[in-house]
């Protein structure tokens, strides 16, 4: 009888557990500078920029908190090159997110880099993991592996704006 009762109630329990409303917020970072210090050699160079996450404040102003984040993904990444340098020097860019307590995650790529542009939009990875955990760290690092076509004595400061979709349970 107890088993029968349980089986009858099971669909209701599943329905109730799945019907909790969730909402998606869009969190956009301020402009972050990813710097590769020159001189830079032909091939792969690392540009990195630290970001002290403001997600907690963002969630607070939206009536939520970090413990209510059920999922997060990078949804857009725009990189701006310095005016003195256009994209002709670059062949590919791969974007990753890193933080001390979480393993590095690859989140975007642009291959090939279109020539003659200073504003670049990356293709975003369809499969993303642990982005919420990275965003919940106080400090995180945006890492761009930039393949350059020829040696340059200059540093490469790339400005980036990144948009995340945050699902709140």
């Amino acid at each position: 009888m107890r088993v029968l009762l349980f089986l009858l109630l099971l669909p209701t329990l599943i329905f109730l557990s799945c019907s909790g409303e969730s909402k998606v917020l869009v969190f956009t970072t301020p402009e972050i500078t990813l710097q590769a210090d020159g001189p830079l050699l032909e091939g792969s160079n690392t540009a990195q920029g630290n970001f002290k996450s403001t997600l907690a404040d963002f969630l607070k102003t939206n009536g939520s908190s970090l413990d209510k984040v059920s999922e997060a993904t990078l949804s857009a990444a725009t990189l701006m090159l310095p005016d003195s340098m256009n994209s002709s020097l670059l062949s590919e860019i791969t974007l990753q997110l890193a933080a001390d307590q979480v393993d590095m995650q690859k989140v975007g790529v642009l291959n090939p880099v279109p020539e003659g542009q200073t504003k670049l939009t990356l293709n975003i990875a369809k499969e993303q993991e642990k982005i919420g955990k990275i965003l919940q760290q106080a400090d995180m690092t945006f890492v761009a592996d930039v393949n350059i076509k020829k040696d340059t004595a200059n540093s490469l400061p790339i400005k980036g704006i990144f948009e995340f979709k945050i699902t709140i349970k």
Partner: protein, 148 residues
């Protein structure tokens, strides 16, 4: 007592700096035993990462273009070039070896847990494994001397 505290904190600072210096010995250019690639290891935050900066055969024999990460399980990431690929990730130094990292095998698209030991200043023992360290496979990497 105040003097004792100062000495203690000075010693603590010295030990921390020494441990960091020892960990940073991993930084540099390395070549696996098969000589097919060269990997540059660098530090990001407090962890160590290595990326392929040179390939003996940089072009795909089929497409004649630069080799891509065509075996990546995530289809959207298969246009990432192998030259520049970050194949060593998230290693932390525990005082004697670099642990908790992963190594990616571009030939199979598989990622393995990994631990790195320095045999000497110019030789690394890199072990990749799934689950149990004892059941893994090791490779010896040699430091590439960069001409100034």
């Amino acid at each position: 007592m105040k003097l004792l505290s100062i000495i203690f904190f000075l010693l603590l600072g010295t030990f921390g700096a020494t441990a960091q210096e020892a960990g940073d010995k991993l930084i540099g250019l390395w070549e696996p035993s098969n000589g097919k690639a060269r990997v540059k290891i660098e530090k990001i935050g407090s962890k160590y990462y290595g990326k392929i900066v040179w390939l003996r055969e940089p072009l795909d024999p089929t497409t004649k273009a630069a080799k891509l990460d065509k075996n990546n399980p995530d289809e959207s990431m298969r246009s990432v070039p192998l030259k520049g690929y970050r194949m060593l990730k998230d290693f932390t130094f525990n005082g004697t070896e670099w642990t908790d990292g992963t190594i990616y095998d571009p030939e199979s698209g598989s990622t393995y847990s990994s631990v790195i030991k320095a045999k000497d200043e110019n030789t690394l023992d890199i072990r990749g494994y799934v689950g149990v360290k004892a059941l893994g496979r090791s490779d010896v990497w040699k430091r590439v001397q960069v001409k100034q």
